[in-house]
Symmetry: D3
Subunit: 340 residues, 6 copies
């Protein structure tokens, strides 16, 4: 099999620590040939560090010189749309960081173009690759959960406003805790329900702590430049009457430092995801099931591999362009509801 | 001071175990002179057991013979409205069990008549009298919480569908887990916000487990006669952008047997109610505060006492007729939303 | 239905605290009419305390006057055989305390006579009525355990040599820890395997601590009068290659005060009985299952009821005369092996 | 003192990770000059990695060229016998991996030849060097345990069938869980009793899980090639009436992942080995003694050192050839009992 | 044996709940014939409740009418001296509540008179009767502790200023936390050292919290009437260089509600008293010994019994008049040191 | 800003692991140019390892060649005085290891000379730089503690007599546990009180375990060469009636391996330092406050930096020469008291 030729766009931490190491391990499927950053020095440094042939500060030159089969996009959120469209127009498959975009319309357009071009566009929601999520799907398909009708999903930090990057810049990121954290657990909740579009979406966003300032646990942030929500709450209902309660925060006066979890309630069994426990009836009694030997897995490696499988037409559980558009529309409806 | 003359309407457990013992202890304020039940034998047995002068199976005869100053109503939910109206028309103060009624209109009418008559109508939400709630209000007034903007309130049972009484009869109770359990924590959440009317209400109700049957932890129930919701989920937003997430269940595939709690998030501090913990910043650091010596109190005794204070025009934190009407309307809007 | 007429033989604690209260509650099936003890004062006191019509110090007079349908035998072990034979010869069903007898031949004879007479003879192994054992049998019949091939059964006390009664008198009790404690868990282990007779039995008994003396946790014992084993260890193999490791002690230098448990290993799942946990594979992962809401039951009441069911020809899980003979033979073979 | 010249036979993990590092640290007593493997590449790689002078794929050539004073044998079990005999015949001391051999006769022959030659033959049961075992022997010699009369010894894995090597190959290994794991705890139990030969041995072996397959926690195994026992249970009695209960498993439906322990019961005190606790009477009360500061030791280093001491005629607690023969005979008798 | 005739002086809780029930159980040694209180109604009520023949409001009349052999004094501290002197002068043995008196001189005079009269005077330090203290003395006499050289003794309450009685009245009680609580643990510490008189005593007393007020955990106290110390700290050295650190508090900003303990450090072993743990070396290793099966005992019953033994000239571990005088002098020296 | 030129005197662990790494990180303030040790080889090795320009075995030569601005003294305690005096006389600031000296007079002289010279002399009590101590001072200045009146300070090891260095040599170290460990917590306790001189000091020292020998947890020590105290206990009172209980041990028969802590009691709140907890009243209830997210800091780095700040006339919380003199006098008075 010929190797897929890959280029990476974006020279930050997530390229350096997540995507490049994953690509480098998948030597039987892909060869990373170029790294692109607005800052050529940064691009060169990454290329040197990881032994990548080319470094660019212009994507068009990169496409011209390297003609990659696929690109990985790990730039600020507001660049996901233009860079994905450019890549698709260069006939590249695209593996784009989450969230898909900063507007629902952008995400729909990205999905439409990928479909027209017959290319794979996927988003990097890597929690899908945890052992816990894999077990959840097996419990579901083995009938241990019955009909899933309610999900509580949350990704809460107590004082976890990032003190670096653009996380508090509304223009570049499109939002705060919901855009950065909430989308991860929302994606899983939607998967559990079969990724339907909701019929009703209601929500609120807050910025009391972010704008006031306080003790930071992920570096210090500047309350005066804080332009996004520090917490978002939402409720979604679906045509089949299922519902999702969603909570996300960068900052909230809660006990736990970092709390990311889903509770999934079905007619036969319920699951708390981290650590995984199943609550059901067995042999006529109420039973709590623990699975103490779940493996730790490299979720980025597995998700990149799933993307490559998708590019090659193989079955894959990576987040598709269509799913990304559904999710982005929900995010937008939450923000709209919060504005009312 | 002359004693208030009281009659109790309803001869079930809640009269026997909660209201009568409370009234009997408050000998300096009230004298319980009559007990009324559709079943005269039951009424007589209660009167004998607690040394009450009169027993009736007719409220009109009771009013005629005893002319009470106040009545306690602890009958099935669908009787709250007619019996309260009758009592007010007999110029009695009324202490009515929760929920106020089975429709919002009824609750509004009850409130209106009480106001017209200048009488006290109050509802028995006795969790307001816990040490935890008392401490919450002091934290609030001492400014430890700042502006409260989000509350998660839940009252969940795993398999706690009552195997006795009328709890699964829609006609008599008007609903299930929301009417019986959810209203308790909803009342507290509304108190924390100042009892505003919400601008948006959305919710869902479910009956998968109730209708299927299973292991019961509060007696066995009959799935074929199960006519109410076994779980209700809702989201409320308020004019000041505050929000409440509400969850109530008789049956849910969750880990915990019984889980009743509120998490109250304010701009300066957050509180988890049971056991009470405060999460805030102190001396420039994130601080978790425990209060290990809260007293256990007899919450029914304190709530009955609060009702009597209200009757006498004293300050009281009992649930008022106006608050009851607001709460009942929210319940109705949740059921309506769930029907859509 | 006509009530069964019952008499109880033996006036000690186990009559007073276990059997009589159970019989008294089962008013729809049985009427206890007489109590017999060698000590007439004791018999009378019991009869008065529990409102029983007759008291005797002679069983023959009791049979003559009362003609019971069934008798309960709760005397020292060496009397089980003669009193059971006498009862059967008076055409009474017999519910005999454990162990069945002090020799295997006695137990076989008791079983044979009961069969000849067409009467129910049963032994009071009441651990069969625990919620845990009931759940074990349901797990077994639901196929959750597969083929059971090894059982570790133990009933260990650290310093629990009883300081009262005849427990250390070899002549009256026939043995020590094995006769008194070991038989309980042996009975359960045999049930799990279908009550087969073993092909090989090997064992050892010890009396170091009993004969030396020391700190007693169940009263003080006299080391000089200590005539039984303080610990017994055994290994049993069965024709289908299953095996049992059995340990029982009145006194052993182990950490735990009292430790009574079974571990049951099957090809699909294994169970630890107290508290009940199931260890198996589910959804392709190793799973540990807890059942946190097992009911506490009155095991003596349930076992007496099971005996009465057996008397009336109904299905019953009480220990039968045949099972008792198998168990007693195992006990005897352990003691014989220990003597070698 | 002149250094002993050593050669190692076997090029697998145990040579690489255990024996060679130990020998290399003992620079004052021994010099490792050669490594032998059927696979010369492997031997060369090991020799290079550890800076050893010679690599061979033929033991005879090794003996010819290097004339070692001692050899370490860490090959599959079926090679222990021929390679030990060859080494002894080359007048080498032998430090052989456990178990001694795959038949009792082999082990006896190995012991006999070593005695005839006046050479040290020892087996690598390194648990003898744990701090816990050292403390046990001091407790024993200080009289804290009295007369030891019963030992429960187990080495259980839940799903620990090795997914590598020859562990499931009956021909090469001679057996499964008993040969690989059980012998470790059996050796300790025998030490505590003075290494007597038992008078009775009874046991069973099972292979339900191994032959069915399932989730592996030590790699995946092939159920179709599974030729050994996955579990072995046995009971041993000794001329002084002491007894041992022995349990070993590669796979068993038990709660714990890996559980290796001994409980040693004496007339004055009892010990649970891991973590070490002593249960006895002190100052007239039942006492539990913990030793929280036991040192972690490099047990391979200490055991290799003990072997070298034995070669030089110094006192040593290494497992001797005679002990190895006793142990191997017990293993064989367990397998024979299981076959019956 | 003729029964000792006893009278009790003081009609409060400690008479009602501690001394009278103990005396009543010791029917073979003592007969309680009279109860004395300044308030005759109280005395009569106690006499009726406990079936005591006589009630008085005058001790002289009591001595006149009843001529007791012994009296129990449980009145406020300032009455211990006059009432003990009166009793001794009536030739009665005296069992006096702690502390002995409110001055050292008083305690010395009480001791002197008792010696002159040849009567038993003892103080009710009932912690000496705990199983823990009994075990401590056995450990000491078995040589497990070696030479005791330092003791930390404390009896701390966080907010345990009694809201009843005279505990905060300096005139009646002579002091606060030290007089009421500290003396208990001081008595034990002195016992462990052989009850020597110290050569140096230094200490401090505080009343910040008592005088400021706050949340009470033993009722509410009046800060304005608070006349004693809420905390006392002291250091004692003895001629043999041993030392005691003593801490007592009614109120202190510490974590624990109530914390009463001693740590006793000897050259061979150290003991923490509650729960009892011994820290020493055993078999060449550092060992921690727990005694998990210490009995709960009725310490008042045992201490009253010990007093009766002393009256009858039997060996007894009750606190003697001489010891009481030593202790009272230490207390006085602490208060004097604090005044400097 | 020009860099301060630094030299280090002493070539042991504390130079190598603590001071040199700290100095090397503070590149903007200081340049380490020389290392001095009596053993030139050691000095050269350190200089090479850390890339320091010069190595000396003579301080005078070092001063001559290098003319440092400051020196760090980390030699045995008895050299602190002469080397500090020499350094001050060379017009160097001095950062001296704790304790200041081996006599109070020496410490006073050191302080006097530094003052005369206008130089900074400071001692390395680096616990002042822990996050816990920093939080304590903020709690104090925020008024959360009120008036601090009692402190319990201890630094206890169970068997932590160092098996290396000169720790048990009275001549070189001046003392044992108090000099090495106790001074750390004494320094903090004094800080909390404002560093007053006490009016009374009493104490005891012991050496039972040190002179007897036993199991060592920090290497093995030689009981015959043990010349210092293994434990020291003391009590200090201050003019404002505040008090300190101080305990320090190298060896004590206590449960915990290493226990270093302070309890600080104020009129409004109390603090346990490790882990930090605050005990006070909040909102009218007793409250326990935890601070779960305190940062781990490099306390040596922060203390060295604080010393450099002091050299430059900036605010600094380093231990001053005057404070060191007060502390050393207390230590001396404890030893004197123990001798009496």
């Amino acid at each position: 099999m010929t190797l897929l030729k890959a280029a990476i766009i974006g020279g930050g931490n997530i390229a350096d620590n997540n995507h490049i190491p994953a690509l480098i391990q998948l030597t039987e499927q892909v060869k990373l040939v170029a790294v692109c950053s607005r800052d050529l020095t940064k691009a060169r440094a990454l290329a040197d560090k990881h032994d990548i042939a080319h470094a660019f500060d212009s994507t068009s030159e990169m496409y011209h010189q390297c003609t990659p089969d696929l690109v990985i996009i790990c730039t600020p959120n507001n660049l996901h749309y233009p860079q994905t469209m450019e890549a698709l127009n260069h006939n590249c498959h695209v593996f784009c960081e989450k969230p898909p975009a900063i507007s629902a319309q952008n995400a729909r357009d990205m999905s439409t173009l990928a479909a027209q071009k017959g290319l794979t566009l996927a988003y990097n929601f890597q929690l899908r690759q945890t052992s816990e999520w894999s077990l959840l799907t097996r419990c579901q398909s083995d009938g241990l959960l019955g009909n899933i009708y309610h999900i509580k999903a949350h990704f809460l930090r107590r004082r976890g406003i990032p003190g670096w990057g653009y996380f508090t810049d509304k223009g570049m990121q499109g939002g705060g805790a919901l855009m950065d954290l909430g989308v991860h657990v929302l994606d899983l909740a939607l998967c559990a329900l079969g990724y339907p579009a909701p019929d009703q979406v209601i929500g609120n966003t807050y910025d009391f702590i972010g704008k006031t300032g306080g003790k930071g646990l992920m570096g210090a942030w500047n309350p005066e430049a804080f332009g996004v929500e520090d917490a978002a709450m939402a409720y979604l209902t679906f045509p089949n009457k299922a519902s999702i309660m969603l909570s996300a925060s960068f900052a909230l006066n809660t006990q736990v430092d970092k709390d990311r979890n889903l509770e999934i309630f079905g007619s036969k069994g319920g699951v708390k995801l981290f650590p995984f426990s199943l609550h059901t009836e067995l042999a006529g009694e109420l039973a709590d099931v623990q699975f103490p030997y779940l493996e730790e897995v490299d979720i980025q490696l597995k998700n990149t591999s799933a993307f490559l499988d998708a590019c090659q037409g193989k079955p894959s559980n990576v987040c598709t362009a269509e799913q990304g558009a559904i999710l982005q529309e929900i995010v937008e409806r939450i923000y709209q509801s919060a504005e009312k």
